[in-house]
C-alpha cells in the first residue's frame, strides 16, 4: 500500500457540517435541489443503466460466438444491439458525465454553493429518470423494444417498416432525456459563467470545469436538433406527415408525385448534426477527468494549461462541421470538405495527448486506481484515435463503413472515454462524495481485468471488420474464418463483465468496512478538495485565496517550487497569472504577502 498518500488536513477545520432542516428520507430525496444529491442520483441511475446495457452486450457476444447462433432470435438480436447502443450512449455515457460527475464537481470546483438553477437541475434529473424508464419499458410491450438501431435511420424508423410501441417509447424517451440534457447544459454554462468564487477567473478554472463549459455549449448546439428531428419522426409515424417517410411516394413507386415524398437523407443530416457533436459531448468531460487526475498523481501542474483550453475549444468548433463523415457512402455529401474537417480534429486531440504526456514527464507518478484508469484511457484513446484518422479518408471509409472495423473504432474511443476515464473519475471523486476510500487492491484488480478484457474484446473486431464482417448481423457464414475472432471478442467481453463485478465488491467493501478518506486523500490541487468529504450543505463555509488554478495545492504547499516555464518562454511573469506569482520570477511562498492570517477568505454563509 505504498501508493496511498497520507491524508492531508486542509480546510476541514473550518468547514463544519451545516445543520439541515426540513424533510428526511425519501421525501428529502424527491424534493431535493442540492446539486450533490442530484449528481449522485444521476450517477447511480446511469451506472445501473450501464450494467443493464453491459448485460445486453453480453447477449450480443454470446449470439456471435457461433456463426448461426441460436441463443436469441433475429428479432431479439436487433432489439439487443439497439438498446445496448441507446442505453450506453444516450443514458449512460452522457448523463454519467454531465448529469452526474459535472453536476457534483463543477459547483465545488468553482466555489459555488449550488448550480445556478437548482430546481431546473432537479427537473433535469426527473426527466432523465422518467425517460430512462420509458425506454426500458419497451422490453415489456407487445412487439418488443426499439429495433431500428441507436441511429434510427429513416425510413426504416417510420411506421411502415418498424411499427410498434417500443419504437414510440424510444422516441419519446429521447425527447424527455434530450430536454433533460438541454436543461443541464443551461445550468452548467450559467453556473460556470456567473457563480465562480472571488479570485476564480476563467483561466484559473480547472480543466474539467473548462471542458464542462464547452460541453454545455455543445449540448445547446446539438440536442435541440435531435429533439426536433425526433418530434418530426414521431409526426411521420402518427400524424401522416412525409418528412422522412417514402411510403407510396415516387421514390419507390415511380409515380409522378414529387410533393408527397420524404427525404431519407434528411434524417441522417439532422441526426449526425446532433450525433457528431454528441461524440464530443461524450468525450470532452472524460478528457477533463483525465486532465484532473494526471497532474494530481504526477504531483505537477497540468502541462500546457492554455493549450489544453484552446484545444478543447477547437475540438468543439470542428465537431460541428464533421457530421457528414458518417455519410460518406450516401453519395450525397461533399467528401473533401468533411474529410479535411475530420482529419483536422486530430490536431487538437494530438495537442491534448502531448500535454498529457508532458504532464507526466518529469513527475513523481503514483499509481493509484484513478491514475491507472487514466493511463488505460490514454492507450485506449490512442488506438481509437489512430483508426479514427483512417476513417476520415473517404476511400478507406468506403470499405470499412458499417463493418466491425467501425464498431471497434468507436468502442475504443467511447469505451476508452466513458469507461476508463469515467471510472477513473469515479475512483478519484468517490472519497470526496462519501468520505471513505475504495480499496486500492480491488481497484487495481478491476483495472487490470478491464484493461486486458478491453484489448481482447475490440482488437479482433478490427480484423473481422477488415475481413468484411458487417455490423448488426445476428448470423454469419461459417467459411470466412470469422468465428475464432468472435470467440476471442466474447471472452474479452466476459472479462470486462467480471471486472465490473469486482467494482461492485469494492463498493460493498467500502460500505461495510469504511476507511475514512479525510478531506484531501490524494493531495489534490483543485478547490473541491478544500472542503470536507462529503461536502456540507452548500459546500463551503470558507474558501482559500484563489490565485492560481491550484488553490488547494497552494494552500497545502506554501513552500513548494513555483510554476516554471521550460525553454522558450523567457521574461517576466505570464500575463494571465496562471501561477501564484507569475512565471519563474522567484517570489516568496504563497502566503507571505497575503496579509490575511490563515489565508482563508471569508465568504458569506449561505
Amino acid at each position: 500500500m505504498t501508493d496511498v498518500i497520507v491524508p492531508q488536513v486542509s480546510g476541514g477545520e473550518y468547514a463544519h457540517a451545516h445543520e439541515e432542516h426540513g424533510p428526511s428520507g425519501l421525501i428529502k430525496w424527491i424534493t431535493t435541489t442540492d446539486h450533490k444529491v442530484i449528481g449522485l442520483s444521476y450517477m447511480v441511475t446511469s451506472i445501473v443503466l450501464f450494467y443493464i446495457a453491459g448485460l445486453l452486450a453480453l447477449g450480443i457476444r454470446v449470439q456471435l460466438t457461433t456463426p448461426h447462433g441460436t441463443f436469441i432470435s433475429f428479432q431479439q438480436y436487433n432489439e439487443l444491439f439497439t438498446m445496448h447502443g441507446s442505453l450506453m450512449l444516450y443514458l449512460f455515457a452522457g448523463p454519467f458525465a454531465f448529469g452526474g460527475l459535472a453536476n457534483y464537481v463543477v459547483p465545488l470546483q468553482v466555489g459555488a454553493p449550488d448550480m445556478a438553477f437548482p430546481r431546473l437541475n432537479a427537473l433535469s434529473y426527473w426527466l432523465y429518470l422518467g425517460g430512462s424508464i420509458m425506454m426500458l419499458l419497451g422490453f415489456v410491450v407487445a412487439g418488443g423494444a426499439a429495433n431500428f438501431g441507436w441511429v434510427a435511420y429513416a425510413p426504416l424508423s417510420t411506421a411502415t417498416y418498424t411499427p410498434g410501441a417500443g419504437q414510440d417509447l424510444w422516441i419519446m424517451s429521447l425527447v424527455l432525456t434530450g430536454f433533460s440534457a438541454i436543461f443541464t447544459g443551461v445550468n452548467l454554462v450559467a453556473t460556470i459563467f456567473y457563480l465562480r468564487a472571488p479570485g476564480m477567473t476563467m483561466f484559473r478554472m480547472p480543466i474539467f470545469t473548462w471542458n464542462m463549459l464547452v460541453t454545455g455549449i455543445l449540448i445547446l448546439i446539438a440536442f435541440p436538433v435531435l429533439t426536433a428531428a425526433l418530434i418530426m419522426l414521431f409526426a411521420d409515424r402518427h400524424f401522416g406527415t412525409q418528412i422522412y417517410a417514402v411510403t407510396g411516394c415516387h421514390a419507390v413507386t415511380g409515380a409522378p408525385d414529387p410533393h408527397a415524398c420524404g427525404s431519407a437523407v434528411l434524417w441522417q443530416n439532422l441526426f449526425w448534426f446532433f450525433g457528431h457533436p454528441e461524440v464530443y459531448i461524450l468525450a470532452l468531460p472524460y478528457f477533463g477527468i483525465v486532465t484532473e487526475i494526471l497532474p494530481v498523481f504526477s504531483r505537477k501542474p497540468v502541462f500546457g494549461y492554455k493549450g489544453m483550453v484552446f484545444a478543447t475549444m477547437s475540438i468543439a468548433a470542428l465537431s460541428t462541421g464533421v457530421w457528414a463523415h458518417h455519410m460518406f457512402t450516401t453519395g450525397t455529401v461533399l467528401l473533401p470538405f468533411f474529410s479535411l474537417m475530420s482529419l483536422l480534429i486530430a490536431v487538437p486531440t494530438g495537442i491534448k495527448f502531448f500535454n498529457w504526456v508532458g504532464t507526466m514527464w518529469g513527475g513523481q507518478l503514483v499509481y493509484t486506481t484513478p491514475m491507472l484508469m487514466s493511463i488505460g484511457f490514454l492507450f485506449a484513446f490512442l488506438m481509437g484515435g489512430v483508426t479514427g484518422v483512417m476513417l476520415a479518408a473517404p476511400p478507406i471509409d468506403f470499405f470499412v463503413h458499417t463493418t466491425y472495423f467501425v464498431v471497434a473504432h468507436f468502442h475504443q474511443v467511447l469505451f476508452g472515454s466513458a469507461v476508463f476515464a469515467g471510472f477513473a473519475g469515479f475512483y478519484y471523486w468517490y472519497p470526496k462524495m462519501f468520505g471513505r476510500m475504495l480499496n486500492d487492491r480491488l481497484g487495481k484488480l478491476h483495472f487490470w481485468l478491464l484493461f486486458v478484457g478491453f484489448w481482447v474484446t475490440f482488437m479482433p473486431q478490427y480484423i473481422v471488420g477488415l475481413r468484411g464482417m458487417p455490423r448488426r448481423v445476428a448470423s454469419y457464414p461459417t467459411t470466412l474464418g470469422w468465428q475464432s475472432w468472435n470467440i476471442a471478442s466474447t471472452i474479452g467481453a466476459f472479462t470486462i463483465a467480471v471486472s465490473f463485478l469486482v467494482m461492485l465488491v469494492n463498493v460493498w467493501v467500502s460500505w461495510r468496512y469504511p476507511i475514512p478518506a479525510g478531506d484531501n486523500p490524494w493531495d489534490a490541487h483543485t478547490l473541491e478538495w478544500f472542503t470536507t468529504s462529503p461536502p456540507p450543505h452548500h459546500n463551503y463555509s470558507h474558501l482559500p485565496t484563489i490565485r492560481s488554478e491550484r488553490p488547494t495545492w497552494d494552500y497545502n504547499h506554501p513552500d513548494a517550487p513555483n510554476i516554471r516555464h521550460g525553454r522558450g518562454q523567457g521574461g517576466p511573469g505570464h500575463p494571465n497569472g496562471h501561477g501564484p506569482f507569475g512565471g519563474g520570477n522567484g517570489a516568496g511562498p504563497p502566503h507571505a504577502g497575503d496579509g490575511a492570517a490563515g489565508a482563508a477568505q471569508e465568504v458569506p454563509a449561505t
Binding site: 438501431g149 504526456v357 513523481q364 479518408a393 458499417t402
Partner: protein, 280 residues
Amino acid sequence: MTAPHPRGGRSRPRWLAVVVAAGGGLLLAGCQLPTFGAYKAVTAQGQDSLKLWQGFFIAGAAVFVVVFALITWAVFRYRRRSDAIPRQTQYHTLLEIFYTTVPVVFVLILFGFTFVTENNVDALPAPSLSVAVTGFQWGWQFQYTTKHVTVIGVELQDPVMVLPQNETVRISLRSHDVIHGFYVPAFDFSRYAQPGITNKFTVDLHTLGTYRGQCTQYCGLFHSLMRFRVEVVTPAQFAAWVSKHKSSGPQTSISTAGKGALSNSTSYTTLTAATGGTGS
C-alpha cells in the same frame, strides 16, 4: 513524427521534402506492400483505395508507436522515487508550437493523398456496361437494362451479379424501401442504396472469380441474410450468359418479389431472367 526539431528555416523544408518523398514512395510501392488486413482489391478503383489504406496504415502505425513509446517511457521512467516535489513545469512554448504544427502538416499531407484517391475512385467514365441495382427488404435486383436481363434474389437464395472482365462497368444503386448498403469486400468499396436517390459508381474488374457481397446498412429483420455474389467472367462467357437468360423465364417485377417474398421464399427461384423491358 521522429523528425528533427525544426530549429531554423533551412532544415524545415528539407524535412518536409523527406516526408513527402517517403509518403509518395509508399504509395507508389503500394502494390508490393502487404494489405494490412484489407482485401486485395479485384477492381482498379479498389486498388487505389487499398494503396491509400496502406499509406494510412503505415502513417497511423508510426504515430501509434511514437505516442505509445512516449506514454510508456513516462509511465516507467517517472514512477515515484521520493517524496520530493518535482519541478513544476507548466509551459514550454517552443515545444507546444512544435507539436501543434507537425500534426497540421501531417494531416495536410494525408488529406492530399486522400483527395487524389477519392477523385479516382469516384470518377464516372463512359461505361461499356450498366447495371441497375435495387435493394429491397431483404434481397437484391440486378437489371441489365440494355441486355434485357433481370436477376432477383431473396434471403437464403443469394442472387448472382455476373460481370465481364476488363470492362468499365457502371453500377447505379437505388432502394425500393429502406436504406441498404451495397458492399463487396473484394472491391474494397461500398455504397448506400437509398430510396429517392440514385448512386452511381464505376468498377473496372480485372480478376476472374466469384466474390461475396452483403448489405451493410442495417435494414430490418433479415438484414443479416441479405447477401449476394458477384461473378467476374470473360467477355465471351458473359455474352453467352446474357443470351441464355435473355430468352427464358417470365418477367419478374420487384413489386411482387419485395413484400410477398418472405412467405414463400423457398419456392422462389434464385435466378430469374426476364425478356423485354422490365419497367421502372
